[in-house]
């Protein structure tokens, strides 16, 4: 009888070894033709795109290949008067790109290149009365932004500038009966939001409020026969969910609940042997986003060719050690 489970089938000739050099070449060359139409289309998230590229290069020990000064100058020209950062020059500031900017500067140990106080003020100003955070001055509320806020402040050592208790209260109000989290109270549980909320609770030292067994169960049910992970029931597996789900499991101390070997072979199968880089699933087009989460996922699974990655911030552990930021996880 045909099974109806939505999944992919990994072909026998799919990549099964890690092609780190190819990925480094792919990222190093990405965006070199800046007139590319596709590049323009994605300019609205450029700061995050740079963070993805640099982080995966650093995880592979290849950060020196990127143009440090050019990037730092770019970041400076993206800080607005309000203190927030935009995705690219001329775009409007937003919390998402403020976090990415701070993360990049941490990679480069150059936080002092920007006006830190102004940046903190921007983040603080986005907190609402109910503890939630808007993404920018226009008012959209989402638990992703709670994560962005505390992550940025934690990296800057300024988490005490916001009302942490209230922020926690709001995130908890987004916890669902299945142990998962959605974007707002009453929203469907979603692996990406779960990552943001467990990461948030880790940063604020409130992981004991998570029902680790219940949530862990929901998360490990994301693993499909192919070994890949999806983000919600009956969705296809996607390498980026292999990060959101895996990191969440690591944060709540239940990473051993999934089949690591099968996940690893799924992630490896998402590589493109010719172009380098990872796609969302085997055979699709690669991009820097999936490349980062493929490599980061492999790191979490214990691949020794890759630097250890921090599951909360998705940055190399050695960077956080240098900063002196320690985040406790559940065991």
């Amino acid at each position: 009888m045909a099974t109806q489970v939505k999944d992919v089938i990994i072909k026998a000739d799919a990549p099964s070894t890690l092609l780190l050099d190819k990925h480094a070449d792919y990222i190093a060359a990405y965006g070199s033709k800046k007139d590319d139409y596709e590049y323009t289309l994605s300019e609205y998230l450029r700061m995050s795109g740079i963070y993805w590229g640099l982080t995966v290069m650093d995880l592979m020990g290849q950060l020196p290949r990127m143009n440090r000064q050019e990037i730092i100058d770019f970041i400076r020209s993206c800080q607005h008067e309000c203190g927030g950062f935009s995705a690219s020059i001329g775009h409007d500031p937003h919390l998402l790109y403020t976090l990415s900017a701070v993360q990049i500067l941490c990679l480069y140990d150059s936080v002092d290149a920007i006006d830190v106080d102004k940046a903190v003020e921007y983040v603080k100003g986005l907190q609402q009365e109910n503890g939630s955070f808007t993404g920018d001055k226009w008012g959209e509320i989402d638990t992703r932004f709670s994560f962005c806020a505390v992550a940025a402040l934690a990296l800057l050592g300024k988490m005490d500038m916001i009302n942490v208790g209230k922020a926690v209260e709001f995130v908890l109000s987004c916890m669902n009966f299945d142990g998962g989290f959605g974007c707002r109270p009453g929203s469907e549980s979603h692996a990406g939001q779960i990552y943001c909320c467990t990461g948030f609770l880790a940063l604020t030292g409130q992981l004991h409020l998570v029902n680790a067994d219940l949530l862990g169960w929901w998360l490990c049910e994301r693993q499909l026969p192919s070994g890949g992970l999806n983000g919600r029931p009956e969705k296809l597996p996607d390498v980026c969910y292999s990060w959101w789900v895996l990191a969440s499991l690591k944060i709540i101390g239940r990473i051993h609940w999934i089949d690591k070997a099968k996940l690893r072979s799924f992630i490896l199968a998402c590589q493109d042997e010719e172009t380098g880089g990872f796609a969302d699933r085997p055979g699709d087009m690669v991009d820097p986003f999936h490349t980062l989460f493929g490599v980061a996922g492999l790191s979490l699974l214990g691949d020794e060719q890759i630097k250890p990655v921090n599951p909360v911030l998705c940055m190399p552990e050695d960077v956080l050690q240098r900063i002196g930021l320690q985040v406790d996880l559940l065991s």
Partner: protein
Amino acid sequence: MAETEGEVDVLVQRVVKDITNAFKRNPNIDEIGVIPCPEARYNRSPIVLVENKLGVESWCVKFLLPYVHNKLLLYRQRKHWLDREALVDITCTLLLLNPDFTTAWNVRKELLQCGVLHPEKDLYLGKLALTKFPKSPETWIHRRWVLQQILGQLSAVGRGSKQQQHYGEAEQPEAERSQQLSDHLSRTLHQEMKVCSDAACRYPSNYNAWSHRIWVLQHMAKGNIKVFHDELSSMRLWVSMHVSDHSGFHYRQFLLKELSTELSQTPPCIPTIMSSSQDQSSTVSRSSSHHHSHAQANGELPGAEAAEEEERQLGCTTVLQLFHEEMELCSDLIQSFPGHETLWSHRRHVFYLWHNLRKEHQQHCSSNGGVVPGQLKDSDSCPPEVGAQSSAGQGESVNGQRHASEPMEVDGASLPEPRDSKRLKRGVLLPGPPALPSEHSFVSGILERCSNPEQRRFALAYKKWLDTVIDREP
């Protein structure tokens, strides 16, 4: 075909104008798309308008997008001035091609704020963008901001502020104005439901579309039982045809939760089901005290305690019925479409909601001692006469129709636990609510009769969930 910068300039300006004119010629455009067309036809516009469909030939997109994109950014950096009309046209073109370009939406927010753009225009633009990009997060986010503006305007008009004069209306009688407002709100609400529906059809398990739908109800229909009830009814067929759509089923869980909260609360909210749309104006201001005073304005007489009690029972009955129907629907679908995780996930949610509601009620009603709590308390040990559980013994169903046959209780051998002899015989015959023993029977029935490995896996997982999550709780 190499184009000089000057040529590109002229070409793009013409294209932007063509797009603007297309909308002027046909205000009913309802879909956008790119027409695969690698080369320009001599001297013909790449903008194609056929019936209500607007197409852009693909060859021009690679010129068009970077040009308008950069033009907007130059404006944003104060390096190049654009008048309001140009801004409207350029952002429109940009967002139809790249609706996740947040800054372009923000430019339109500013135009809206200074009155150059009407909010309805952006709802329309967003709707069009969603026909091609049904998930676009920034489109949904902008939509919520626009709706907040509209709600704010309606509130202000409702309070009889100066804005009324701004619209050039003479003083209206309060009731008429109130009716107009609630009509407007109702139209906007239903339009949003349609936009969400369309987007949900265009992309399976569209998280952004469904979470927007929930947001709209939370902000524009708070406490409005009729709307929630209608939504639950109208979505029934849709989810039956989209049994993998986890977001669609989650929406029903949300509706059930809201309904059970409203219907089992005191003071009663039942009047809203029976009264006119006038009640919808209460959603503009969201305070519950306004809601209650409205209920009183509906003519609750003194000595309404007995009526309140009756209404509360009516509310509880309705809740029971809703949960019963939902579990029935779920059982039908599980049997008709074996091996769908979404359906089993839905079962968990619905049963959990019901289980919790019953617990809360026992605590609440035991201090009041009405008829209702007794019925609810017994439900644990009382298998239903007809209901979801009886279908569990059927196994195969034809086209989702249950065979009329004997309830499972008769066939005692297949039941793992001894059935209580206590049955729900007193008073009004309520439909049997889902209960733990009957859920276990349902699972056993599935396992016995179904050979689909995925179905068995999900059934076992559900059983484990019942044992772990439900049974463990006091």
